[in-house]
């Protein structure tokens, strides 16, 4: 058991190191994130003045910061999986005494952690300097970070599910595109879910998108401890559903490989 864990830990550590060496990517992502935040900060300032919304632009920037932080940190493992399937690299990886899905997850998790740390530092420092406010206590902030990590893990799992669609599709980009748009809408990327019509809020609550983005970041508007527990529960529930789906789809995919060839 320990030896098995060591394999994945070694993959995690190697990917983390490789990610550090590839600092240009981290720099690019940070720059992109700051650009997004600057645009939204201006947008919300103007919108708040013109529409007299209840949301305060500073808190809204923190809301978007918590959303973008996770959104950009989730690694695009589906692209690497597609490459594995299409280039035939999968045939190379499968005979190894290690689970393919486990290895992809360990790699993705390392990228996620690295990006969460780097982009988190950039995002929160920027939000603090821009708004000159810090809307949470230290404990609340720590809980938000933990929730963010869990949301990132769920996001990673779902990206892997998209990656598995390569068994059937030549290009997973359209699936990912639709997925992203659903995440933006039902996750409340730029507009808090509480601003949505009630029926849409109810629909969003039934999807995994809400706890990944808006449901979690919405705590910035009023930190409620009971909501924290329900959010952890929701993320865990979706993680279990996602893991089962991942395993079933993978098994089905391997069967397809055997029937239709690689």
């Amino acid at each position: 058991m320990l030896q098995k864990f060591n394999k994945y830990a070694a993959i995690f550590s190697l990917t983390f190191n490789q990610g550090l060496k590839n600092y240009k990517l981290l720099f690019g992502l940070s720059l992109f994130l700051i650009t997004c935040l600057i645009i939204f900060a201006h947008l919300w300032k103007v919108a708040a003045i013109r529409t007299h919304t209840d949301f305060n632009p500073e808190t809204l920037l923190w809301y978007i910061a918590f959303n973008e932080w996770i959104l950009i940190s989730i690694p695009e493992v589906q692209k690497e999986m597609q490459e594995d399937f299409q280039s035939g690299r999968l045939a190379y990886l499968l005979p190894r005494p290690i689970s393919y899905l486990g290895a992809v997850f360990a790699e993705g998790f390392a990228q996620l952690v690295l990006q969460l740390v780097v982009l988190g530092s950039v995002t929160f420092l920027f939000a603090f300097l821009w708004t000159e406010t810090f809307p949470l206590t230290f404990l609340q902030f720590a809980l938000m970070l933990l929730l963010g990590l869990c949301a990132g893990i769920l996001g990673l799992l779902l990206q892997m599910l998209i990656g598995l669609s390569s068994f059937w599709l030549h290009d997973v980009t359209p699936v990912n595109w639709v997925w992203e748009k659903l995440l933006f809408i039902f996750g409340g990327l730029i507009l808090p879910l509480s601003a949505y019509p009630l029926w849409l809020q109810k629909v969003a609550a039934l999807t995994p998108f809400s706890p990944i983005l808006g449901g979690r970041s919405g705590l910035i508007f009023g930190f409620d401890q009971s909501q924290i527990f329900s959010l952890f529960g929701l993320l865990a529930l979706w993680f279990i559903i996602g893991s089962i789906a991942l395993k079933l789809v993978y098994r089905r995919g391997l069967k397809i490989l055997n029937i239709s060839g690689g």
Partner: protein
Amino acid sequence: MSSAIVVKGLIKTFFIRAPVSGFIGTMKSLFSPKISEQKAIDNISFEIKRGEKVAFIGPNGAGKSTTIKILTGILYPSEGHVEVLGLVPWQKRDVLGFKIGTVFGQRSQLWYHLPASDSFSLLSKIYEIPKATYKKRLHELIAIFELEKLLAKPVRQLSLGERMRCELCASLLHKPEILFLDEPTIGLDLNAKLQIRTLLNRLSLEQKTTLFLTSHDTADIEQVSERVLILDKGELIKDSTIYDLKKTYMRKKIVTLITEEEKISFTIPGVTPLASPPFHFICEIDLAIQPIEKVIQKALEVANVKDITIEDPSMEEIIRDVYAAKV
């Protein structure tokens, strides 16, 4: 010598959705797709002994990759029996994984931005190699593959030949009993190719590793393997030692004469003149029609010969002949 690989009556059939054209055809195929049957491997049988060096060759689409995928446990056959090191691959892939190694020339198992030593260390964990054994084994492989100076360099800074030496080392860390090599010299320059072939032979000699090699480079086949399995359209059309293959199919010789005359010509049955530079006469001799001595005798009659070279046809030509004989 016991068997490393046993394949009996192996058949693999794929069921492929037939491509359709036009919008209506596409819509129709969504509800009632036309499925066509494609036999990727058609009843092949062979046995490979431990320590043998075997080339597994054939044109694209001959079924090589499918066979390797079955041998490594990725695919299961439609019919037939397969045993690799006494295990049924698709049933015991986890166990087999520890006993086989794979080198795919076009894919890397090394981490691009990190030194190869980091990848080796990761692989030692994946293959659950105890630390002391790993260190000893790595030391051994570093000496064989002359990797000392390469270990600390990020993989992206290595030349293709250096990278391939590292790939081989990575595949051998867990001391596999069988090494599957798919185009191990693809893209390498002549020196690097020669180096890899020499290393593979050394590996076979010193470690008794069974080598199962697929390559389109006939020099790989000739210089590394001692036996060749030729596959065509899913059928095994030849299973022979390289020596026997040459003996059977080497019905031709290429003779080059360097003459004092700028140009000479003579006609005798079984001799086909080939394009030659000035002061040279190059021809192909069909040994079934004309013995080589007769041709040289004739040449000496018509010209002042300064030098003679007699060459065997290339492995490529021999393989071409095998396919032609099948047709």
